[in-house]
């Protein structure tokens, strides 16, 4: 199920909230947690019930290993490595088997058939989450939990599909703190605010930029210099509003149930270096890699008195793993390599400067690097990547940008507005208006990104008291989202 869908907003969420609050009102705390997990299974299995089997098996295997570590601590190492292999193996199979076959075919000129296995939703996330728990069990910093709290920890639907990657010790204590089960009006209101802010970012901004990005990448061989930078910048905005919007919704949803989930985005486009970018972008993933790969590996290097060598080796390993984790294509590995090299180079003092004129240089350098590498990230195929990079770095003009601007006609409101104008203006004006709309879109995005992020907006509203103006604005935006969402359903319907 998607957060940005009518079935979620009008059926699933209300039902889950009612059930949750009712059960907690009658102090059936453990049953309430079980109910939450049950609803989360429904949430997960909505599009494809078969994937529930994978989720259940994953939980069963990891929980059993945790139990075995508890029962037979002498064999902790064995159980740990078994779990590691099992988790990474399953993830590897679903995500990378075809990539593996493709490369074997390319190198050995064989023609093994691809399996076209469909990737189970969220498998990258719930696998990583359980690996973090397993490693903590191995290190002795996690207890063995009971099956109800463990299942709730893995399946809690706000964070199940795309994170944030929640640590067991930041959520399970909350599950067991029954004082949080009492309905909190203020927290609930905060949750709604954050959810709507996230929804707006996703539906009104990300999905609009997506029209430009998808149109462009589907016709990558037509791009010129200007249009390729427009596409790249559009993706920079699309990706941020999409992912951070989703995470805002996740945090908001968590609050509706009385829980605090970790923040994943802290205005990353304000970063002055790539290391800083990764602290602000997908913060929980960075936290995972820092805690479970970077720190142990660098610590080993320091102890072996090979700090300099490991200051190069460790970022390479971390970002290659990260690239690989993000997707099964050489473009992702190339993207990871770029991040690693930037990180290694950022160890120089220049990138730590945050004052004075150099501030603009470090900010713009970081931002431009981000735009370029995100274009690589979006490419997904090597030929797309070459296409967009060629467009960005060779000088050419063919007016493709106008066509890009017109891809915005996919938006129901823009289309409506333009249809209304169509008979009354010349073609040239028609095209100019589309470009104008696109420029306005970019301007809005730039302004939003340069100011407070969703969490900061919420905090400042709480500080001065939620204003009437804000409430009205939010309601209008929410309604606008719903109108736009109904467009999506219609579109999908026509596809059947």
């Amino acid at each position: 199920m998607l957060f940005n869908s009518q079935i979620f907003i009008f059926i699933f969420l209300p039902l889950t909230l009612i059930g949750w609050n009712l059960l907690n009102y009658f102090k059936l705390y453990r049953f309430a947690l079980l109910f939450l997990s049950g609803m989360s299974f429904w949430f997960y299995g909505y599009f494809n019930p078969k994937y529930l089997i994978i989720l259940v098996c994953s939980i069963a295997i990891n929980y059993s290993l945790s139990f075995l570590i508890q029962k037979f601590p002498k064999f902790t190492k064995l159980f740990f490595y078994t779990g590691l292999v099992a988790n990474i193996g399953v993830l590897g199979y679903f995500k990378y088997f075809d990539f593996f076959i493709e490369n074997i075919n390319a190198v050995f000129k064989t023609s093994f058939a691809l399996t076209h296995i469909l990737l189970p939703l969220g498998i990258s996330f719930f696998t990583l989450q359980q690996v973090s728990f397993l490693i903590d069990r191995y290190w002795g910093s996690a207890p063995h939990y009971n099956i109800i709290e463990y299942t709730a920890y893995v399946t809690f639907f706000p964070q199940l599909i795309a994170g944030p990657i929640v640590l067991h010790n930041e959520i399970i204590p909350q599950f067991n703190d029954y004082s949080l089960r009492k309905f909190n009006k203020e927290l609930f209101r905060d949750g709604i605010i954050l959810f709507i802010l996230g929804l707006v970012k996703k539906v009104l901004l990300a999905d609009t930029f997506a029209y430009i990005v998808n149109y462009g990448f589907d016709r990558i061989y037509y791009v010129d210099t200007l249009s390729s930078w427009v596409i790249a910048l559009s993706y920079t905005f699309e990706l941020y509003f999409d992912f951070s919007g989703y995470c805002d919704m996740a945090c908001g949803l968590g609050k509706l149930f009385g829980f605090e989930l970790p923040v994943n985005f802290k205005s990353p486009y304000k970063s002055h270096s790539i290391p800083e970018y990764w602290i602000r972008w997908h913060a929980t993933l960075t936290r995972f890699f820092t805690t479970y790969i970077y720190t142990p590996m660098t610590m080993k290097g320091v102890r072996m008195k090979k700090k300099k060598l490991f200051s190069i080796l460790t970022p390479l390993v971390v970002y290659l793993v990260s690239g690989f984790w993000h997707g099964a294509s050489w473009t992702f590995i190339f993207w990871g390599l770029a991040q690693a090299l930037a990180t290694i180079w950022s160890q120089r003092k220049f990138w730590k400067i945050k004052k004075g004129r150099k501030k603009f240089l470090t900010w713009s350098g970081t931002f431009i690097f981000t735009v370029i590498t995100q274009a690589i990230f979006r490419s997904e195929t090597w030929s797309n990547m070459l296409g967009i990079l060629k467009g960005m770095f060779t000088l050419k003009y063919n007016g493709f940008t106008t066509e890009l601007a017109m891809s915005l006609s996919e938006d129901i409101l823009i289309k409506g507005f333009m249809t209304f104008l169509e008979g009354h203006i010349s073609w040239n004006t028609f095209y100019l208006i589309y470009i104008g709309i696109m420029l306005i879109l970019f301007a809005i995005a730039a302004i939003i990104i340069s100011r407070k992020n969703a969490h900061e907006i919420l905090a400042s509203q709480k500080e001065k008291g939620v204003t009437l103006g804000f409430t009205i604005a939010l309601s209008v935006l929410f309604t606008w989202c719903l109108v736009t969402l109904s467009q999506v359903s219609t579109f999908l319907y026509f596809n059947f």
Partner: protein, 79 residues
């Protein structure tokens, strides 16, 4: 014993962060010093291990709450 550790630790902090005026206290965390990022943290731990002749468990390296907890851990390991 704790005072001795605190004194030695202060010297280490001053050396690692290149700041002769630096003072530490129990509540101090990585948020309190600008340069205290993950690499600095590991450098710090490495120096502490060398100076005190101890070895931290990985869960303590990643899970160190504050300087107070660090001092306690050093005291425990240096026994």
């Amino acid at each position: 014993m704790r005072e001795e550790i605190t004194r030695k630790l202060t010297d280490i902090f001053r050396d690692v962060f290149d700041d002769d005026e630096l003072e530490i206290n129990d509540e101090m965390t990585a948020e309190d010093i600008d340069d205290w990022d993950s690499l600095m943290h590991i450098t710090l731990i490495g120096t502490i291990e060398d100076e005190f002749g101890i070895k931290f468990a990985m869960k303590d390296v990643v899970g160190m709450k504050n300087v107070g907890a660090l001092i306690d851990k050093i005291a425990e390991l240096a026994q």
